[in-house]
């Protein structure tokens, strides 16, 4: 049987592909050979670097608790009315019977926390009641960044209020603020409460705080600016001791004497919320004051306490921290070298003794603030 050879053993197309593949292989080999070479390696590490849980920094917070014994007889409670459920009420203006976008009250909170720390279980605590028997007060709320007025959360709405109180019994309503995820937001917080009252009357408020936790401590944020727009016309009331130069001052409850007396004082309590385990590197108190009557001279000195335990004395009846005979506030900053423990810082009370040159005159305080520089490893 005869076999015929094909016309060509390899076609031209196959030859071209073979040539191309050969060239590619040759090129690959050449490049590989060129890149190859001897090398030797050695390692350093590994080393682990971990940053502090809280960086060093000064955190400041005002006194929200005031016990005023300027009269030398007894203590008058003069706390911020919205910071405690203490039956010291803040009454709004008259609401309408229906919600309106221009009828609300607003609370800007203080900023005493180290930023950048995770927050859990943040909640807005609002304690209120209707104005009178048989009336009903309702509210819903929005949460904003105070610095930018950016809305970050809504809770309830005009159709579905967060709560209504049909009694005159003060009741606390706590609303979870899931949008408050860290202390940077917490330090820049504004809560706007829209309200209505069935009798077109005021709402009686006892408490407006934000509470929650960080990995290191629990916290309470206190309102420092209160805006009441329940009537649609806004009025602003700042907590007198929280911000200097805002035109809102704390006037002593009674007149001071011409001489210092251990019976005449103001006790100021702070809530710095220094986390357990923190290292306090420095602390100080800002106290801005002047006479309530122009021409008078007022002087002061103070003691620091943890409960009933005296921690330190700054100035004395014979040598006050300072005196002020001007119409401007004396802006005193006094170092608290005795404040080295977290427990003492978190329980600090300062007892301010004052006197007035003419007697039977009051004093003004524009700022009472504790500054604590601390870090947490």
């Amino acid at each position: 049987m005869r076999r015929q050879l094909p016309d060509s053993l390899v076609s031209r197309r196959e030859l071209r592909w073979a040539a191309l593949a050969g060239a590619a292989a040759a090129s690959f080999t050449t490049v590989s050979l060129a890149l190859a070479g001897f090398n030797s390696a050695t390692n350093g590490g590994p080393g682990t670097y971990t940053s502090k849980r809280i960086f060093p920094g000064i955190r400041s917070g005002a006194a929200w608790t005031v016990r005023d014994a300027s009269g030398g007889v007894s203590e008058t409670t003069a706390d911020d009315s919205l910071s405690y459920a203490d039956a010291v009420l803040k009454t709004t203006g008259n609401w309408a019977t229906i919600f309106a976008s221009n009828r609300y009250v607003e609370f800007d909170f203080n900023s005493p926390r180290p930023g950048g720390v995770a927050v859990s279980s943040a909640q807005f605590n609002f304690r209120m009641a209707a104005n009178g028997a048989g009336e009903t007060a309702c509210f819903y709320l929005e949460v904003y960044r105070a610095s930018t007025s950016t809305l970050i959360g809504s809770h309830g709405d005009a159709s579905n209020p967060v709560a209504c109180n049909s009694t005159i019994l003060q009741t606390t309503y706590s609303t979870t603020l899931a949008e408050v995820t860290n202390t940077t937001i917490l330090n820049d917080l504004r809560v706007r409460v829209y309200g209505k009252e069935s009798g077109s009357k005021p709402m009686k408020q006892d408490l407006a705080t934000v509470t929650g936790s960080t990995p290191y401590s629990s916290f309470t944020q206190y309102e420092k600016i209160y805006r009441d727009q329940s009537t649609t016309t806004p009025t602003t009331t700042n907590w007198s001791l929280a911000t200097s130069g805002d035109g809102t001052v704390y006037v002593s409850a009674s007149n001071w004497a011409t001489t210092f007396s251990t019976l005449r004082y103001m006790k100021l309590t702070f809530d710095p919320g220094v986390p357990s385990g923190s290292v306090i590197t420095s602390a100080s108190v800002d106290f801005y004051y002047k006479a309530n009557t122009s021409g008078d001279t007022v002087c002061w000195y103070f003691e620091t306490y943890n409960g009933a335990t005296l921690l330190g004395t700054h100035g004395s009846s014979g040598s006050p921290v300072s005196c002020n005979s001007t119409s401007s506030f004396s802006t005193d900053n006094v170092t608290l070298s005795e404040l080295t423990s977290v427990t003492d810082a978190n329980s600090l009370t300062i007892k301010v003794y004052m006197k007035d040159s003419t007697g039977s005159r009051k004093s003004q305080a524009d700022l009472a603030q504790l500054n604590v520089n601390y870090y947490l490893d």
């Binding site: 005869r2 076999r3 015929q4 050879l5 070479g37 001897f38 090398n39 030797s40 390696a41 050695t42 390692n43 350093g44 590490g45 590994p46 080393g47 682990t48 670097y49 971990t50 940053s51 502090k52 849980r53 809280i54 960086f55 060093p56 180290p114 930023g115 950048g116 720390v117 202390t183 940077t184 870090y375 490893d377």
Partner: protein
């Protein structure tokens, strides 16, 4: 032109047989030969770190902190080095190494003699002259070229890495942790005539 397979095979067989006979005749004469041998052996290259503090981390650090760590690089072998590069990596990783601006920064210096160490925390002073090996940059990098190294077999370069946590690092850098590794790779000199 078409050829049958049989004809082709037959032709090749005939030509092959003829060539074989002719070849036998050609080699069937007196012969003489000489030979030479030589040995070609490849060289060696060795980069080691006989001393290193790079495994010493730091905790807890705050913005503005600076950490100094020394490492000696020794060169050995029969082939010279041309370069040494550094590759750094982090595992686990955090903002400390992923943020190129406010995360950890590194600069490497060389001392002509061994650094004088104190601490911990470690700090170093140079009793000789210093030169820059790596300019300040983000700590994490790949194949970073190191300069001013000796690179000759038998020599040792005394390096000091200064790691800085920038002061501008904000609160988002709190409670972060990174484990850093450093790989130094030395490469042979270029090929040459031998």
């Amino acid at each position: 032109m078409r050829l049958s397979l049989q004809k082709i095979v037959l032709s090749i067989a005939i030509v092959g047989a003829a060539a074989g006979i002719a070849g036998l005749g050609t080699f069937a004469t007196f012969t003489s030969s000489t030979s030479a041998t030589h040995t070609i052996a490849s060289g060696t290259l060795s980069l080691t770190a006989p001393f290193s503090r790079l495994g010493t981390g730091a905790s807890p650090i705050a913005a503005g902190d600076t950490m100094q760590r020394a490492i000696d690089l020794s060169y050995a072998g029969s082939i010279a080095f041309s370069t040494v590069t550094l590759t750094t990596s982090a595992s686990p990783s955090s903002l400390l190494d992923t943020d190129a601006t406010n995360g950890l920064q590194m600069v490497i210096d060389k001392c002509s003699v061994a650094w004088t160490e104190s601490g911990p925390p470690y700090t170093y002073t140079c009793g000789g002259s210093t030169s820059s090996v790596l300019a300040s940059r983000a700590l994490i990098g790949t194949d970073l070229a190191l300069t001013n190294l000796t690179l000759t077999a038998g020599a040792t370069d005394h390096l000091r890495a200064t790691i800085t946590f920038p002061s501008a690092a904000g609160n988002t850098f709190q409670n972060q942790s990174s484990t850093l590794s450093y790989a130094f790779t030395g490469t042979q000199r270029a090929g040459q005539s031998q």
